[in-house]
Every structure is written in structure tokens, then in C-alpha cells.
Amino acid sequence: MDVNTKKIIKNAWRVTKERGVTCLRIRVPGGHLEVKYLDLLKEIAEKYGNGTVHLTTRQGFEIPGIQMNKIDEINQMLAPVIQGLEMELGVPVTDETAGYPAAGTRNVAACIGNRVCPFANFDTTKLAGKVEALIYPNDFHVKIAISGCPNDCIKGHLHDIGVMGMVEPVYNQQRCIGCQACVKNCRQVSTGALSFVNYKVRRDPLRCTGCGECVLKCPAAAWTRGKQSYRLVIMGRTGKKNPRLARPFLEWADETVVLQVIKNMYAYIDRHIDRSLPKEHVGYIVDRTGYPVFREEALAGVTLNPEARVAAWMDWSGYRYERTSNMV
């Protein structure tokens, strides 16, 4: 049996523990899809696989138990999925009957967003689609996740890039009845950015995370939604060396800025990646170049919207497994 493993891995097929048997990874950008695609996935799993699918942490599907000699045949079958879930978003695919064109950059995950969730500040799946169109296909191993609000339910803090929806709350003091629902709630569930002065609410803009809770809690529409923007947290990761949470890189950034920075990050990786390794995560590249180099290159050619703020320095937390001296 002769199989080019490098080739099939880039084609979104796995080398599994069982010889000759592979597993197909399906991308679902934004984690939301029309159920019509499930029919095809079911057919592949029943006819070629072992009748099961695995729901991945990245909101895709893996279809296990497929013989490697069926790869070409199944790639042909996948055309409607690649067309509907990738090409229709604007992802450039030259041959939709040849399976996935890359697997390095992982599926862009998203929380359920404002199609359902009252807390979400925007349509996360829609932005995930725009990001997918911008960065896929790509071989660099990058993980991006998008959340509707700073609750970060999709856990962008464990991703190379986590995008979170922010909204500028606009206060009309004429409509405020002084019930303090927003003040109490902000203190309880958010950052305590609101205070009550002279029977009206004062917002500390440096403390406000743009979560939108005050708008949701206000019974009188004294708080309403202003401009919607984003927080970008970067270089969170799990992994066997140095797990850590991402740190804020941008806040109050608009969509154009977010998309440009993501695009620039790929150029940064391309410039600095250690090509002697089979693969290198962007976070480890930043560890090597230092944050100032990343910041400069990520913002190259980007015109920040006036409200946007950029982290002056970065102190990623996290720990190194080999230095856990408390394991006695």
C-alpha cells in the first residue's frame, strides 16, 4: 500500500492508529450549517465509515473508519459541501471535487451569536465566514474563534486569535429612572465600570469592556446600542510545552481592522516561521520574535479606527510543564 501521508493530511484526511484506515475532517465555518449537508455526511459515514461521526472541539465533524483507498471517491462526493460551506463564503477552491484544499488553518469556530443568544453583540457565524474567506485555504497551523460577547463562550482565550463582540453603550440620562439595575449588574457580572452619581449613571470608559449587559438590563432604554466593534485576544494556546490564556491585543476595533490584522498575521508567520520544523504555531513564533515585532507587522498598513486601542506591551501568563516544581 502506497499512500502519500503528507498529501492526504493537507487534504483533511487523518493518519489514524489503524493501518489503512483514515478519518475525514469536515469544516463548518462559524459552527452553523443548513441540515441538508447532514444527509451527505450521514451517507459517507454509513457507506464508507463505521456509521459514526465525531463532533470536534472546533465545531466540525470527523467521519472515522474510512478505508484510505476510498479517499478520491469520497472527495468527489464532498463537492456540494465544499461548494456550500466554503466557496459560497468566497473561499477560493479551484477543484471542488478534489476534497479540502488545506487543513493547517483550522475551522473558524464561533459561539451561537446573535442569531439566538440575547447576550451576543453580533452575528458570529457571519464574521466567521468572512474570516474563513480571508485565510483559507492555508497550511499554517492557526486557530481562530469568534464569540459574540466578552463571555467568550467559544473560548477564544485558548486560540491564536480570539475575536469578541463589543458594543459601545450609549446613555440617555433623560430616560434613566435611576433603578441602578445596570450599576448592580455591571458590578456583579462584568467589570464594575458603572457608578451612580447624583442619581444618574456614570461609565468609566477605561473599565468598560463593551459587553452590552447594561443595555440588556435597562428597563427604560436609557442605555441603547451604539457602535459595534471587537476585542482581539492573541496567542492563547494549550499544547505540551507552555499552555496559556490569550491576552488582549486590540479593543474597540472595527471589522475592517480585525480582518486586516488577521490577514497580516499570516504574512508575519510566513516571514518568521522556522521552516526546519514540520510545523510551528504562531504563538511560539511570537515568543521568538518578541511582541513588538508582532505588533508592528500585524498593524502594518492598518488604519485604526479612532476608538481602537492597542496593547502597549504583553505579559502572557501561562506556565511550562517542565518547570512545575510543585509536583513532589
Binding site: N114, P118, A120, N121, F122, D123, G148, G165, V167, Q173, Q174, R175, C176, I177, G178, C179, Q180, A181, V197, N198, Y199, G212, V215, L216, K217, C218, P219, A220, A221, A222, T224, R225, Q228
Partner: protein, 333 residues
């Protein structure tokens, strides 16, 4: 007298009125809903027919036009005080029959409750003209028919929106203006005769209702957010706020600001006392005010059955169900 106006003619009529009146109507405020990507239907100044929302109920009632949410009553310095200049222009409000009745409830409290009419309210109220929007279908939560607020004759102009024209019935004050823009046409206003929901209000309340277990359900279901108070077209309570300006605390102003009986702090007294700490007790207080004691005092129920409190409750508490349950337990007791 009846008139028919095309959409264009009606817009010209409105433009003419705008010279003398501020015109308020239900309007779609894009992106101003609490949830992202949603609009708020609320009262706002309008200039054309297309801006007026006929097919949705407003989230907030027109009460805020007559009774500002936050209103400065006077400014004070060390030795003197003065009222703000009232420069209120005459106002036209587009509203449904139930909301006209609701304004009558406001009148009852602010104009006819004791010897002294409230001058701030009267100042605005005297300048208001009602343009009643015909309402024959209502909405899912409405129960105006049960409350007897489905009909009204109190209007300056009554309108029916049709596909490409507006039919109006006008009082003499507005007939010259309508005649100038439209043509005479027979028109008889219609009213809604049946809602999807009907309620039975209690005739007599036995003392046992006070401690009835029906209220305790709301101890946990209600979150005391006060949306039902704020959205109610007949809630009239306010509180006073004395503000001392931060830059110079020797000057300041006294404001009156809406208050709500469901909200924490409503019953706070000197010494730290407060009443109705349980939310079910607040619900009882509100319910009995809306459909019992107001009527005992003034002859009509306070509640006009607009159903806004049902629409806005984040905990899906239905006030019409509360009324019916109240009537049931009152009959039992």
C-alpha cells in the same frame, strides 16, 4: 367629517401640521432594541406616514410624551429657586384607543386627584391632540375589550390606513386642514370587538386574597426589573431627586423621575424601613391597584388592557393571567 387622502396628500397634511405641532407616533428605531440586531418600536417625532408603524405595538407607551421620564421641576441656589422655562409646543400623538383611555388615567391622577392639579402635567396635557389609529385586530397580548377601552370618541382625527390611502374622521378643528389636502369621503371609525385574550376582573376582594398563595409564585418568577411599570401607559408613580451640582454644591435642581412599585427602593423610608420585600407582594400591590382599588376610588379600572407588560416581561409573566387568577380566588374566598 370624513376625508380620504392619498399617501402623498397625507404627508403634505403632516408637513402643514408640523409648522404648529410636534408630531409623535410609533416609529421603528433601527438597532435600538436591547438585543443586538433588533429595532425598537417606540414613540418618536415623525414627519411622514411611512415612518409611522401601524402593524406593531410600541414597546413603551405614549405616556413619556406627557410625563417625561426625568423632569426638572426647579433649579435652586442658596436663596432663590426658579422653574425651567416651559416652551412646550402643541403636540399631536398618534395612538390607539386603549392608549387614549390610558391618558385619561394619567389625567385622573395628575389633574383630578384632590384639589390641586399638577401644573407641569397640565402644561403639557392641554397642548395634546389625539390622532387615533384604527385598531380592529389588536395583538396577541391585548385585552382592551374586557377592560372596556377598545372604543373611544376622544380624538381630533381618527385614521384608518389602507393600501394607498388614509381615511380620516376629523373634528371641526382639523376639517379645514384635511379639506385642503384631501377630498371628503364617508368614513365611520371601527373598533376591535374581540381580543384573543379576555379577562374577568374581581368584583370584591376578600381579605384572604392578601395572603393567598397565588402571589408567592412570583417571589421566584419575578426579577423586579420594573419593565412592566416602565412600559405601562397608566403607571404614574414618580420619585424626587435633589441634585447638588458637583462643581458647586450650593446650586442644584429638583427632578421628578419615574418610579415603579416592582423596583427595589420604591418603598424605602427614613430609618431604613421598606415594605413588600418579596416580589410576589409587589405583584399583589400592583395587580390590586390596576384592577381593584383605582376603580374603587375613581370609577374605572386603571389597567387598560394594552398588554405591554406581557410583551416586555423577560420572565414571561402574564398580567392578564394574574387578573384572571385574582378573579378566581376572589370568587372562591
Amino acid at each position: 367629517m370624513g376625508f380620504a387622502l392619498t399617501t402623498e396628500q397625507f404627508d403634505a397634511f403632516l408637513a402643514g401640521l408640523a409648522r404648529d405641532y410636534d408630531i409623535y407616533a410609533p416609529k421603528r428605531l433601527a438597532g435600538k432594541g436591547a438585543f443586538s440586531g433588533t429595532d425598537l418600536i417606540a414613540y418618536a417625532p415623525v414627519q411622514s406616514l411611512a415612518e409611522i408603524v401601524f402593524d406593531r405595538k410600541t414597546f413603551y407607551s405614549p405616556k413619556e410624551i406627557l410625563l417625561p421620564i426625568s423632569q426638572t421641576l426647579f433649579y435652586f441656589t442658596e436663596e432663590a429657586y426658579r422653574e425651567p422655562q416651559q416652551q412646550q409646543r402643541p403636540v399631536i400623538i398618534f395612538l390607539r384607543p386603549c392608549d387614549v383611555h390610558a391618558v385619561k388615567r394619567l389625567d385622573q391622577i395628575y389633574l383630578h386627584n384632590g384639589d390641586q392639579a399638577d401644573p407641569y402635567y397640565r402644561e403639557r396635557r392641554e397642548k395634546v391632540k389625539f390622532f387615533v389609529m384604527e385598531c380592529t385586530e389588536g395583538f396577541d397580548s391585548c385585552f382592551c375589550v374586557s377592560m372596556g377601552t377598545n372604543r373611544t370618541g376622544e380624538y381630533a382625527v381618527f385614521l384608518r390606513l389602507e393600501a394607498d390611502r388614509v381615511l380620516c374622521d376629523a373634528r371641526p378643528e382639523f376639517t379645514p386642514a384635511l379639506a385642503a389636502y384631501g377630498r371628503e369621503a364617508p368614513f365611520t371609525p371601527a373598533f376591535i370587538e374581540q381580543n384573543k385574550i379576555s379577562v374577568k376582573t374581581p368584583e370584591k376582594i376578600a381579605p384572604a386574597v392578601y395572603g393567598h398563595p397565588l402571589w408567592s409564585e412570583y417571589d421566584s418568577r419575578c426579577i423586579a426589573c420594573g419593565r412592566c411599570n416602565v412600559c405601562c401607559p397608566t403607571c404614574t408613580c414618580f420619585t424626587m431627586q435633589d441634585i447638588f451640582y458637583e462643581d458647586n454644591p450650593r446650586c442644584g435642581e429638583r427632578r421628578r423621575v419615574w418610579a415603579g412599585c416592582m423596583i427595589d427602593g420604591f418603598t424605602d423610608l427614613a430609618g431604613g424601613h421598606s415594605f413588600r420585600n418579596k416580589y410576589g407582594e409587589r405583584m399583589r400591590f400592583k395587580a390590586l391597584h390596576k384592577v381593584y382599588d383605582f376603580k374603587k376610588r375613581f370609577g374605572d379600572h386603571m389597567c387598560v388592557g394594552c398588554g405591554r407588560c406581557d410583551d416586555v416581561c423577560p420572565e414571561y409573566i402574564s398580567f392578564s393571567r394574574i387578573i384572571n387568577r385574582l378573579a378566581e380566588v376572589s370568587d372562591d374566598e
